[in-house]
Symmetry: C2
Subunit: 540 residues, 2 copies
C-alpha cells in the first residue's frame, strides 16, 4: 500500500542522502522533502452495508444485485475491503470521531446536531438524553484532523459537501473554522433542503439561503438541472485540480449529502430502477426505493468521476482513497418496503435493523481503502506488500481514520503520536497481516455509546444504549429497561440469539470492560427527570 | 479570626520592610518569614449532628441534654458554629475529599475502602456499584493537603488516628506516603479492632498486628487500661510538643477512631450514662447507647486535652482548630433504640435517617472552626473581624477544608489557587459576612454522589443516589427506582414532604445542574449487570 510505498522509497532516498552526506560532508538530509500522498475521504451519508453491488457479506445478496456501484467495485479491486468496519449509529458522532480521533463517548457529540440548544433525541416519557451532551458540536480551538494535516504536513485541506460538525449559528458550523482551507457547501445541517438544482438545493427561489436546510455556496448551479451530487463532484474536482497545479498535497474530505433523506431522484439513473422489477423477482421496485437506488448510483458515479480525475491529473498513484458511510443504512422508514421482501427494517439484511439501532444494521458500514495500481515502469513498488482486491475481516472503527491518515501523511517523517481512541489501521492493509497486529485488532474493544432515543420506539434497539465488541462477542446494554444482551457475531451475524443468560461470565467480562472504558472516556448518561413542558431545558 | 490577624500584621510588617528597603536599599523583604498558624483538624468518626451538648439545631433537643461535650461547647464559644455543614454519607469519601479538595464524584473514592479488589457495597439483586470506583483509595503521587502544607509552607504534618485512605496492602494505606511526616496509628482499616488497651486495640494477645483491624503502632499501651481515644491523645500532644520545641508550624490531623463501631465503653465516663435515665424521662438509657455516649464524652475529653496542651505550650493564640465529623451519625443499627424514643433511625432527629443515607441525617455534620481569644495585651488584634460564639447558616461541604487550610497556612504570602471543588470558607468566619460572599455561598451547588448500596435495604435513602443542594432546595435522584425527590430544607428540615410533583420546574433546574456537575466531575454510575457467582469481578 501507499504508506509502505512512500516509506520504502523514502528510506531508499534517505539511505542515499545519508551515504552521500557521509561521503561528501553534505547536509541535505534535513532539507529532504518527502513525497506526501494525497488523501481522499469519500464519505456517504446513511449508506447501508447492502446498498452496493460490492458484497460485504460472505455471499451475494439480492440487494447487491439491485444496486449498481461499479466504481466501488473498482475501488474494492484495487484495494482492501473491510467487512467488519464500524461507525456510530448516527451521523454527527461519526463525523466528529473522524475529525477528532475520539470515540463518541469521549467527544460527547453523541447524537446528531442542529441547533446548539435544541434536543434532537426523540421524546419519550422516561430517560431523557444526557443534559449536557454537546449539542453545539465541534468548535474552533479543538485539534482536528484537517488542522493537523495542514499545520504538520502542509496539506491543502478541502471540504466538500455535508459538514454537520457545529450547530447552526456557531463558529463550528463553518468547516473553515475547523481546519479546512476550502469549504464547498458545508454548514450545520445534516440534510439537504433539496437535491435538485431546479429547486436551488432547498434555497429560496429568488436567491438567498433558506436556513437551516438550504445547501449553501452552490449558487451558480441554482435553476439548472445539475443534481446536488454532481455539483459537489464538479467543485471537488476543480479544487483538486487547483491543488495539483499548485503542487500541494491535498486532503479532500468529500462528504456527500446523499443518500440521506429527502429521498429524491437522481434523474440520470432513474431508468435503471423506475418501473423495473427487483432482481430475480417479478416485484416492481417501490418508487421510493427506485429514487434511493438512483441516489446511490449517483454517488457511485461521483466516485468514478473523482477517480478518473485523479488518473487524468496523474496523481492517482500517489493518492489514498478511503470510502465509507457514516452509519448503518436507513431502514426504519422513508425507503419503502416492497422492494426487498415487504417488511420494514430489512434493508440491511443479513444485519439486524438500521441507522440509529444498537444492532449491526445501525453501525456496520461499507469501508474500502484503496490506491491506484503502480505503473509497470515502477518495479520497485511491486515488491511492497500492497494488497489488491483484499478482504479484511478484522474489525475497525471510524475513529481509526484519524491516526491512520496522520500516519500516511507523515510519509515516513516524524509523526508524534497523539493520545486518541482510534488506532492506525495501516498494519491491516496487506494480504498477510502480522500475527501481533491480528491479536491486537482482534482483542481491541470497540465501544459504541448512544445515550439517546433515536425514534422513540420501543423495539429494534433504537433506545438509549451502549455496547462493546471484543473478538466476535458483542454485549449491548439498554438503559431504559436495564437489559443486557450478548451475541456471538461469528455464528449469529443477525443477532437473533441473545446469549446473556447462557454465558453470564462472558457477559460480565464485557460489561466490566465497557464500564471501565465509558468511565475512562467520561461518557454521559441518559437520565430520568421531570420534563416540565412550560419550561424547556435551559443550559447554562 | 487568625487568618485576618496574621494577614494584617504581615501587611504592617511588609510595609515597614518595604519602607526600610526603600530608605536603606535593604533587601530583607524576601527573607521575611510570616508567622504561620498551626492547624488542627479534629475529625470524629460517625459522629452525629445531635450527638453533642452543642445544639446545631434551632433549639435544644433531648439528645443535646443527653450527651456531655463541654469542650465542644468551649470551641463553639470561641469560634464559629456551622449549622449546615456537610460531609459525604460514609467515611473514606469524606477523608479523601479533605485530602484532595475534590468532591467525591470527582476523586472517585465513593464508598468506604478496605481491600483494593473487594467490593464494600451491600449486595443486592440489581444495580451493582460502578465497576471501577477507586476501591484502592488514595495513592502516592496525588497532590494532598498535608503534602502541600509541608512543601509549600514548611509545616510539620502529623497524622494521628484513623487514616482509611488507601486500601490494605497498598502504599496509600500508610499516611506517610501521602504527605504526612508522622503517622500515629493510621492504616487501611476504618474501624478499630478494639478500643481497650487490655485488648491491645484488637491485636494479638502476644504481640503482632492483627490485620486488617488491629490498630497499629500503639504497642506501648498494649495490656494497659488506656483507652484508644486516650492513647491517641497522649501521642498527638507529644507530637505537638515536639513541633513547638522545634519552632515548626504544625498541621495536626487528629482523626479519632471513635465513635465508630464496635461500640465499646470508655470506662472513665460510663457512670454518667450506665444505669441512668435518659434526660427528662424515666426511661433507662439503653446499654449500647450508654457505651456510645461514653465514647462521645471520651473524644470530647480528648479535645479538651488538646486545647489545654495548646494553652500550656502557649500556641493556642496561633492555632486554628477545626472540629467535624466524617458523615452523619450511625442510626440504623448497633446503637440501641430505647434511649431516645424507641425507634431505629431516630438518632439524628430532627434530621431524617443517618450514616449512609441520602437524607440530611446521612450527610449533615457538626462543624466548628475556632481559635483562642487574643490576649488583652495584643490590642491591635481586637479590631479584627474575629467571630466569637458565632453561628453560621451558610452551607459548606467537607472539600472546603482543602482551600481553606491552604489559605490560612499561606499567612498572607502567595497562595497559588489550585483547581479544586472546595471553596475557601474564610469569608464566613466573621459575624458580618460580605453580601457578595453570602450570595456566592447561598447559590453554590453542593453535590453528593453515592452510587452504592449502603446496607442493601429498600428504604431510608440507603440506596445508590446522587443529590444536589442549592439554596434551601435539595433534589435527590435514586438510581434504583429512578425516582427524583425534592425538599425545601428551610421549611422541612426533616424531609417529610417531597415536592417533586408540585414543583417540576424547580426540580428540573436542580436535576440539570446536578447532571452537568456530575459529568464535569466524571462521576461513576451504578450499573446493572449479571453477577456471576462463580466468577467474581476481576478488575484489570
Amino acid at each position: 500500500m501507499v504508506s509502505f510505498r512512500f516509506r520504502s522509497s523514502f528510506l531508499v532516498r534517505t539511505y542515499l542522502v545519508l551515504v552521500s552526506s557521509l561521503l561528501f560532508g553534505a547536509t541535505t538530509f534535513a532539507a529532504e522533502s518527502p513525497n506526501r500522498p494525497n488523501l481522499v475521504v469519500f464519505l456517504i451519508d446513511d449508506f447501508g452495508w447492502q446498498d452496493t453491488s460490492v458484497s460485504f457479506f460472505a455471499e451475494q445478496t439480492p440487494q447487491n444485485r439491485h444496486f449498481r456501484t461499479p466504481n466501488m467495485e473498482r475501488l474494492a479491486r484495487q484495494g482492501v475491503k473491510f467487512r467488519q468496519a464500524y461507525a456510530c449509529c448516527v451521523c454527527s458522532p461519526t463525523r466528529s470521531s473522524i475529525l477528532t480521533g475520539y470515540n463518541a463517548a469521549r467527544h460527547g457529540i453523541t447524537n446528531w446536531i442542529l441547533h446548539p440548544d435544541k434536543e434532537t433525541s426523540a421524546k419519550t416519557p422516561h430517560l431523557a438524553a444526557p443534559v449536557n451532551w454537546r449539542r453545539g458540536g465541534i468548535q474552533p480551538g479543538e485539534i482536528t484532523l484537517p488542522g493537523l494535516l495542514r499545520e504538520r504536513y502542509g496539506y491543502r485541506t478541502i471540504h466538500v459537501g455535508k459538514a454537520h460538525w457545529g450547530a447552526h449559528g456557531t463558529p463550528g458550523s463553518e468547516p473553515m473554522n475547523l481546519g479546512f482551507d476550502v469549504n464547498i457547501a458545508g454548514h450545520a445541517a445534516g440534510s439537504p433542503g433539496h437535491y435538485h438544482g431546479e429547486k436551488n438545493y432547498g434555497n429560496k427561489e429568488k436567491g438567498g439561503l433558506t436556513e437551516p436546510w438550504g445547501v449553501p455556496g452552490l449558487e451558480k448551479y441554482h435553476g439548472t438541472d445539475v443534481h446536488l451530487s454532481d455539483a459537489l463532484t464538479l467543485e471537488a474536482i476543480a479544487a483538486v485540480e487547483q491543488s495539483v497545479a499548485e503542487q500541494t498535497p491535498f486532503f479532500l474530505y468529500f462528504a456527500h449529502y446523499a443518500v440521506h433523506t429527502p429521498i429524491q431522484s437522481h434523474p440520470r439513473f432513474m431508468s435503471h430502477y423506475q418501473g423495473q422489477n427487483f432482481p430475480g423477482t417479478n416485484i416492481p421496485i417501490d418508487p421510493i426505493e427506485a429514487r434511493y437506488a438512483s441516489l446511490v448510483e449517483g454517488i457511485d458515479a461521483s466516485l468514478g468521476d473523482v477517480l478518473q480525475a485523479l488518473d487524468r491529473l496523474d496523481v492517482a498513484r500517489n493518492t489514498i482513497v478511503v470510502f465509507l458511510s457514516d452509519n448503518g443504512g436507513l431502514s426504519r422508514h422513508a425507503r419503502g418496503t416492497s422492494a426487498n421482501g415487504g417488511k420494514a427494517n430489512t434493508h440491511n439484511i443479513p444485519l439486524r435493523e438500521g441507522k440509529g439501532s444498537a444492532y449491526e444494521g445501525g453501525t456496520r458500514i461499507p469501508f474500502l481503502c484503496s490506491w491506484a495500481q503502480p505503473a509497470p515502469e515502477e518495479p520497485q513498488q511491486a515488491a511492497l506488500p500492497i494488497a489488491q482486491a483484499a478482504v479484511q475481516d478484522l474489525p475497525i472503527i471510524v475513529e481509526d481514520l484519524f491516526p491512520s491518515l496522520l500516519h500516511w501523511a507523515s510519509a515516513g517523517t516524524a509523526n508524534p503520536p497523539l493520545p486518541r481512541d482510534g488506532r492506525d489501521i495501516t498494519p491491516l492493509l496487506t494480504h498477510h497481516v502480522d500475527a501481533q497486529a491480528v491479536r491486537e485488532f482482534q482483542q481491541r474493544p470497540l465501544v459504541f455509546h448512544y445515550p439517546h432515543h433515536w425514534n422513540g420506539g420501543v423495539e429494534g434497539g433504537y433506545q438509549p444504549h451502549s455496547s462493546i465488541r471484543v473478538g466476535d462477542a458483542k454485549a449491548i446494554y439498554f438503559y431504559e429497561n436495564r437489559r443486557w444482551e450478548l451475541y456471538d457475531l461469528a455464528n449469529d451475524l443477525s443477532e437473533q440469539h441473545d446469549l446473556a443468560e447462557q454465558h453470564p461470565a462472558q457477559l460480565q467480562q464485557l460489561a466490566t470492560q465497557l464500564q471501565i472504558l465509558l468511565h475512562d472516556r467520561n461518557a454521559q448518561w441518559p437520565y430520568d427527570f421531570v420534563q416540565h413542558e412550560d419550561e424547556p431545558l435551559r443550559l447554562p
